[in-house]
């Protein structure tokens, strides 16, 4: 029984870690701007495409990976400056529409550049190699991901709790206007948030596309939405919440993918039910349930809204 479940669990942890890296970007931006950055999943996809093209130019790995991360961070920075900054005083709906517009633009831009074809993601030595753990054969990346996620999250939490810019971020997320009045440079805080979020999405994309090695303009949509659900599940605005939510969603999703096999091996069903296709739908069902039962998520703070 365990042998049946273990491989699904393992890939669940891995993909959960990759969702976590995207989810942090959502949760940080929402914490500060109260904006669902619908384009964040597409930033993740763009990071994948950039890697494809940089690797194709033949530069060595120790150049291409850092280059991807830097360019992705820059993309995030530019998106904020061009599409969100002008709308800072506009109604919330406008910023959300702008985010949807950016998502649409990025997808179309990539469609144009790639001609709408699936692009093969370059194999990255070391993490692309196969490894055998217990009953499961998998790529090294599966094992590397959770470790890397934990390291990055610890670094990020330290940054937020110990540094000056981190303190500014916390202040802004608590009270935007007061923070501004206290002399905090709102724009640089917001930019930093987008840079960090996009950087982590870049890291996530390197790990994710090593496992699912083709990139197309729509590749970011589903992981993006799932990461957002993870952020809501964990309590939007909370980084540990987003990470835990992402792992839970990653694991559940993969268990559902294997549910037919698991149930069959356990003797509970005699023919497959085709439940695997519900792995995506499950995420959204979970979202609706959590929003109805506990809208603040697992670790979210109760928001105070003026009536």
């Amino acid at each position: 029984m365990w042998d049946t479940i273990f491989p699904y669990l393992l890939s669940g942890i891995s993909v959960g870690g990759q969702y976590a890296l995207i989810a942090i970007g959502y949760t940080m931006v929402y914490g500060i701007l109260r904006l669902i950055n619908f384009a964040h999943g597409d930033v993740f996809m763009v990071a994948g495409i950039i890697m494809v093209y940089i690797a194709a130019s033949g530069v060595p790995l120790w150049v291409s990976v850092p280059a991807v991360l830097v360019i992705t961070a820059l993309v995030g920075f530019l998106i904020e400056r061009v599409a969100y900054k002008p709308l800072r005083t506009a109604p919330r709906m406008s910023a959300m529409i702008s985010a949807i517009g950016v998502s649409y633009t990025l997808q179309n831009l990539v469609l144009y550049i790639t001609g709408g074809l699936n692009k093969q993601y370059p194999a990255i030595p070391l993490i692309s190699d196969s490894i055998k753990i217990g009953s499961a054969t998998t790529k090294v990346v599966t094992v590397v991901t959770p470790v890397l996620v934990i390291l990055l999250v610890v670094a990020l939490v330290t940054l937020i709790n110990k540094t000056k810019i981190g303190m500014a971020m916390r202040a802004v997320s608590k009270d935007f206007e007061t923070a501004q009045l206290m002399g905090i440079k709102i724009n640089s805080v917001i930019s930093t948030t987008f840079v960090i979020g996009s950087f982590l999405a870049g890291v996530g994309s390197v790990l994710y596309f090593t496992n699912y090695p083709t990139v197309i303009q729509t590749s970011g949509a589903m992981p993006g939405l799932k990461a957002f659900v993870a952020a809501v599940f964990g309590g939007i605005g909370s980084i540990p919440g987003a990470v835990i939510g992402a792992f839970i969603i990653g694991i559940m999703e993969n268990l559902i993918k294997g549910l037919d096999v698991i149930l069959f091996k356990a003797g509970l069903i005699t023919k497959p039910l085709g439940l695997a296709i519900f792995s995506d739908a499950f995420t959204f069902a979970l979202l609706i349930i959590i929003l109805v039962v506990k809208p603040t998520g697992l670790f979210g703070e109760k928001t105070t809204d003026k009536v």
Binding site: T303, T304, D305, K306, V307
Partner: protein
């Protein structure tokens, strides 16, 4: 005066027919007790004012009456029927349907609509037509009656000339009048006014006082208002309740309240009162520790209090 020094003063019964009754109303937000053990009542045909320093919990009390908040403790009765308690939470529209209408401290008009449409919207509540008859315009008679009534209401508040203007393009004072007219369009028997004179000059305030008395008669209303302009309060109120730190510290007729040393102390402590009309009490009587502050505000006899705040109460969704 600190919060702990405030003593709850019980409600005093009166002879009339009770319209609204609060029993030990308490509203707590987290650690903040915005309204604390507040009992009061209003009789039919009265104008009752609720006064108190900023942050005393006046608007919160209003919000409990109109079911925007569910009270933490206590009961609210309207015409003898329970409309809110720690167990019973109606939605605000149900309360309005019972016959309680209100205005807001920070004006809340429908910004995307004209003055006329704002009034028409408030009449949706008493509709006899349904979705089908409305969509296919089978309710012409009702619609005509409603339009006539809306027009009459605009005449009452003197806004017919701006009927087709966008509501939010009106000057401040007219917006307040429109809010009152809109509240009247729901056919209330009890009208709650949250600082109707805020931002008005003395002359406008006087006119507003006359206006409130007039609509009270014309529409057979009972009026419950929060107000900072003491002249207005003293002029038109039958009785007054005073809140401080959420607790009722005094009640009675205007004369009784303005001579009540506890009230004076509460206002002076928070450095804001429009001078009470009538004999000023001696300084040492009210606040021995701050005699200087006691003098200054007592002299300006008619200047209205600056109300600087946008939203007064501790509010939480």
């Amino acid at each position: 005066m600190s919060e702990l020094d405030v003593k709850v003063v019980p409600d005093v019964e009166t002879a009339g027919e009770t319209v609204l009754k609060l029993e030990h109303l308490t509203m707590q937000f987290g650690g903040v007790i915005a309204v604390n053990d507040f009992s009061m009542h209003i009789d039919k045909g009265e104008i009752v004012a609720l006064i108190g320093p900023n942050g005393a919990g006046k608007t919160t009390a209003f919000n409990c009456v109109t079911s925007v908040y569910q009270p933490t403790k206590g009961k609210i009765y309207f015409h003898g029927k329970e409309i809110g308690s720690e167990k019973l939470h109606m939605t605000p529209d149900k309360v309005t349907a019972q016959g309680i209408a209100r205005t807001f401290q920070n004006i809340r008009l429908f910004s995307g609509m004209t003055v006329f449409e704002n009034i028409m919207t408030a009449m949706h509540l008493r509709r006899k037509s349904n979705l089908f008859t409305q969509v296919f315009h089978l309710n012409a008679e009702e619609e005509r009656a409603n339009r006539q009534k809306a027009w009459k209401l605009l005449e009452t508040v003197g806004l017919t000339d701006v009927a087709e203007e966008m509501a939010t393009s009106l000057p401040y004072g007219k917006q307040r009048l429109l809010e009152i007219a809109r509240a009247l369009a729901t056919n209330p028997t009890l009208l709650l006014l949250d600082e109707p004179a805020a931002g008005m000059n003395p002359q406008e305030t006087d006119e507003l006082g006359e206006f409130i008395v007039r609509i009270k008669k014309e529409f057979d209303l009972t009026v419950f208002m929060i107000e900072h302009h003491m002249n207005l309060v003293m002029d038109i109120s039958d009785r007054i309740y005073v809140l401080d730190f959420g607790k009722p510290i005094a009640n009675g007729t205007p004369e009784e309240v303005q001579q009540n040393p506890v009230v004076i102390a509460a206002y002076l402590g928070s450095e804001e009162i429009d001078a009470p009309v009538g004999r000023p009490p001696k300084a040492e009587e009210s606040r021995a520790s701050q005699p200087k502050q006691a003098e200054a505000p007592l002299q300006g006899a008619s200047a209205p209090i600056e109300v600087a705040e946008g939203e007064e109460e501790v509010e939480e969704a």
